[in-house]
Amino acid sequence: MELRVEHLCKAYEGVSVLRDVTFTAGNGVTCIMAPSGTGKTTLLRILLGLEKADSGSVTRCRWSAVFQEDRLLPHLNAMENLRFVLGDQLDEAAANALLERLYLADTGGKNVRDFSGGMKRRLALVRALLAPSDALALDEPFTGLDEENRARCLAVIQEAAQAKPVLLVTHDEEDARLLNATVIRL
């Protein structure tokens, strides 16, 4: 599928955050890069349907996402968090395989509130990858990850990007290079 963003504008209290943003993104990774406070997260929020643009249009589709914050249910364990989002659609074998790839298989059933920052980030990525969607939005998904975990996450994102558009918000040029991503600078 192809995502279209056309002439998108957004301002908060008269201060323009997004000015005439236009791009298209097909299957593969598209990196959105810009200095802090220049509307990257606002752009994702508009695409996810959480905010309205002042003008312009975006393709409407089923999204899944890794938010800037982990947004996991702290009183549930890893599998329960996945079941909260996926319900009966949760394929436990596929979930276990992905959890294992991202070193999350052996969490001993402990609740997410007891996870480290890196574990929460990886679980948020697993959730986004397992949820049925047409496109994937990832807002700084590698925050708090060590090199090894970052490499594993890059690999699973690259696999997902073969089947759907992946929009990745990052500060790191290296991420874009490793993912062969199209770069859009706001």
């Binding site: 349907g49 249910l73 009183h75 909260f84």
Partner: protein, 256 residues
């Protein structure tokens, strides 16, 4: 702070000291005035009277009748409070409509409501109405605050992932609301017994605990008064413990 909390508990030795003081005061009253024992009966007399009362059918009938009315009012109000708090969370108009009512119930003395309700209602229904009225504001306001405290970021996440409302309810709203509801229920259970019995003492429904308290006052039966008061305190505590246990048990099953 921890030290202060540790000393803020009921200790057996402290209870014994207060009982001894009560016994001493009652003996002084009896010695100073010819009918001093009528003014302040001793703890032993109160306990003996309680034992005598507890083997009568009238005692259990009064306990059952008052408990059913007061706890019935509590349950009705809890249900109404939860439903209207949910409606208020969905609609500002409902919240604005209910605000003056809640403010009035909080501000107006309970005795005014009791006398007003006596004009409208049969005395037997008075305690149910008054206990429901007193329970409504804390339950409604706390549940509304609990709904408002649900994590907005988690709700956005659920929206993006198209999580059905029933699952949002169990995973996000219930964990947010339950601590608020629990503390409201604990407060309201104490309130409903106090207000409900005050209503019975004024309305005097036949065969109620309120009527028994009133008769104790009329006939200077202070041992009856203490016996009934002890029963009320025990029932109130038992109902609170049971209800909160039920809330925790249900929460354990319902929360995802």
């Amino acid at each position: 702070m921890k030290k202060a909390t540790a000393h803020n508990r009921i200790r057996l030795w402290a209870v014994v000291v207060w009982l001894l003081l009560w016994q001493g005061a009652s003996m002084v009253f009896a010695r100073l005035w010819p009918h001093g024992h009528l003014l302040l009966s001793s703890p032993v007399e109160a306990l003996t009277r309680l034992a005598e009362l507890s083997v009568t059918v009238a005692f259990w009938r009064a306990v059952g009748s008052s408990a059913a009315h007061i706890f019935g009012g509590f349950l009705l109000s809890c249900a109404l409070g939860v439903v209207l708090a949910a409606a208020s969370a969905c609609s500002c108009a409902v919240q604005e409509l209910l605000y003056p009512l809640v403010a009035a119930v909080k501000a107006v003395p309970v005795v005014s409501f009791i006398i007003l309700a006596l004009v409208w209602l049969d005395a037997s229904q008075l305690s149910l109405f008054i206990s429901a009225l007193m329970v409504f504001p804390p339950v409604y306001l706390n549940v509304l605050a609990g709904i408002g405290s649900a994590d907005a970021q988690l709700l956005e996440m659920a929206q993006v992932f198209r999580v059905p409302f029933s699952r949002q309810l169990r995973g996000i709203y219930l964990p947010a609301v339950l601590p608020h509801f629990r503390s409201a229920a604990s407060l309201a259970l104490g309130l409903c017994w106090k207000a409900g019995l005050a209503a019975e003492v004024i309305g005097l429904p036949v065969g109620s605990m309120g009527e028994a308290l009133y008769n104790a006052k009329v006939y200077y039966e202070t041992s009856d008064l203490f016996a009934w008061t002890a029963v009320i305190v025990v029932i109130s505590l038992v109902f609170e413990k049971l209800f909160l246990y039920l809330v925790d048990w249900t929460a354990g099953k319902a929360v995802m």
